[in-house]
Point group: C2
Chain length 202, copies 2
């Protein structure tokens, strides 16, 4: 971080990256409506004009912040790995348990996005469709067409996303009482349990 | 609603009630930080001073709004009924599917409450502890000590709360694609399935 790279492109890239990281923290703390570009600028020691140079509106900044985080996670947990889908879920939850700030930002902003005319609403509608579709594929491949004896991959995918979101909320509020990774694990085990293996459907 | 009752107590009660209902809508639309007492007052046609007469701070108003909704739901779905616990869950979700505004307010405010120094944080920490404890009791009574072959009532209760919260978020964003009651039902069936009945634990 910082402007150690003095070539123009490198400096601009570092500055843009710095704005995105500080913006993520600020949105996480204060929500979209409680955050101003002026506050983000102040925290970096830039003028508001300096931030506007990279992101023309607060809305554009928010959407870029959200896309960056997703791209990083995707690379980390889905980069062409061959391991079972549900093992990747466990690893993602273990990683999330070490970064409450990032989890907080997604929890606050995804919930805030359900309100009328929120600038990230379309982003989150699309993000949840993509996430469910991604888990449908992974669950079908690992567990076949009938999961835990009765669920379709589509139902199991929506429940899996809900379990992760809902447990993260409980854990953020009460980390001593809510064992995020242990509870996700118990749900994963439930999905795998008493399951007809994929081979039997072929 | 309205000031048809001219006795002093009745009028004050109606006015207080009216403020709470408009405040709930406004918090749901704009979150806690995006709502001002002046805006709530304006929507009712009161002065801000008029609202302050009933609720000394915005924070006090928020907490009273949240308590009122919980008390109403508790009365509706738990008022000493003898039916199985999970049937009550289904009915609550069916009812919630008819009132997206209320579901939205809890989704936005519970998520927002995870941020530092949020005035409803203690309320939600306590609310989730109470909810989990309540479901532990109900699940133990209906399904015994081992649920779906492997979960403790404590684990199943945290997962049940997570499933409801998480599905409500997905449903608020995408009601055409997410069948709130059907998906909660599929999870309830999963909990009941292949279960050792309570009697066998005695």
């Amino acid at each position: 971080m910082g402007d150690v790279d003095n070539r123009r492109g490198g400096r601009a890239h570092n500055r843009r990256d710095q704005i995105l990281r500080v913006a993520l923290e600020t949105f996480a703390e204060r929500g979209y409506r409680g955050t101003s570009l002026a506050l983000v600028a102040e925290r970096i020691g830039l003028t508001q004009q300096g931030v506007l140079h990279y992101f023309p509106t607060k809305q554009a900044l928010l959407v870029e912040v959200l896309k960056l985080r997703d791209a990083e996670d995707y690379q980390r947990f889905d980069g062409g790995s061959d391991e079972p889908h549900l093992d990747g879920i466990r690893q993602l939850m273990e990683f999330n348990a070490t970064r409450p700030g990032v989890v907080q930002s997604f929890t606050v902003l995804s919930a805030e996005s359900v309100t009328e005319a929120h600038p990230a609403r379309d982003f989150f509608v699309q993000r949840y469709r993509t996430a469910r579709g991604h888990h449908v594929d992974g669950l079908r491949e690992e567990l076949g067409e009938r999961i835990a004896g009765r669920l379709s991959p589509e139902q199991a995918a929506a429940l899996l996303v809900a379990v992760m979101d809902g447990l993260q909320l409980q854990w953020l509020l009460d980390p001593e009482q809510v064992d995020l990774t242990g509870l996700v694990d118990s749900f994963v085990t439930m999905l795998r349990d008493s399951n007809v293996p994929a081979a039997a459907d072929a």
